[in-house]
């Protein structure tokens, strides 16, 4: 869903610390009991956008397999953004649940 990708990425970076794009995809896929599949093609544009908004930082590292990977970490501004988006998300789901339950 539009907009939830930033929420998922920020929350993952908060709980797991700095990660590269592939690990982000993997983590979200695994933790959601394989219910959520982050589309790889939309992840990287989103990451770049978030970096430009100052929510995350990136740097290049060499992984233990000897590959170059770009690692993303959350900034304080990202933390604030996460709190906001979490709040919005909870309000949205509460509202939708109420509408669905109403009979």
């Amino acid at each position: 869903m539009q907009g939830t990708l930033t929420l998922l990425v920020l929350r993952t970076l908060e709980s797991r610390g700095p990660l590269h794009g592939y690990a982000l995809c993997d983590h979200i896929h695994a933790v959601s009991d394989e219910l959520l599949q982050v589309e790889e093609g939309s992840l990287y544009p989103a990451l770049r956008r978030m970096e430009q908004d100052g929510w995350i930082l990136s740097k290049w590292e060499i992984t233990d397999k000897g590959r170059k990977a770009k690692v993303y970490a959350m900034t304080p501004r990202g933390r604030k953004q996460l709190a906001e988006e979490q709040e919005t998300w909870e309000r949205l789901t509460r509202g939708v649940t109420r509408v669905l339950r109403y009979s």
Binding site: Y22, E40, G41, Y44, P45, R48, R49, Q52, R67, K68
Partner: protein
Amino acid sequence: MPWYQRWRNVFRADRLHNELEDEFQYHLAETVDRLVADGMPESEAWREARLRMGNYSLQKEKTRDMNVAAWLDATRADLVYGLRQLRSNPGFAGIAVLSLALGIGANTTIFQLVDAIRLKMLPVEKPQELASIDFEPGSTRLGAWYGRSAVLTYAQWEQIRTQQQALSGVMAWSADGFSLANGGEPRYAEGLYVSGDFFSRSRSSGGTGTHIQRAR
């Protein structure tokens, strides 16, 4: 900004592009590793990984487009460069500014003239209240018509005249050529067919002769 710095900007865009390429490559390599670990032959795994990435080059373009900052920077550099060029060639700059000024000035004057004479001084009582009802320019309808756009038929005009409520009244016209001669050699004149209340509606002060009235 000197030319070599402009070149550096070009290379910087390239570097950004390379970084993206590296990031995608890393993602592909990791995906392939996992697929191979799950028992897929390596050549097939590469194909599969690419498929999962979606339209590879399109995604790359999309990600690159996100870098508006780089684009803005290039535009700013171009502007500064242009200004510097103008300053170093004052003769050329003067002529360019002068011709622009003349062109803009002439256009403005002509528009003001047309506006005053043709638009504001129509020989009707309240020209500012006039509105035009027509098909959208360039639109089509069935049948034959002159010119590029469809025109209203008489039946459509009648519908508008009897049903419209937005205006205090409507009038219609159609340009045509007429022969003024009463038999014999024709005397050609440009003219308009107009609806019956054309003159009373517009309270036109133009022209001489007898104004026609709306048919009772």
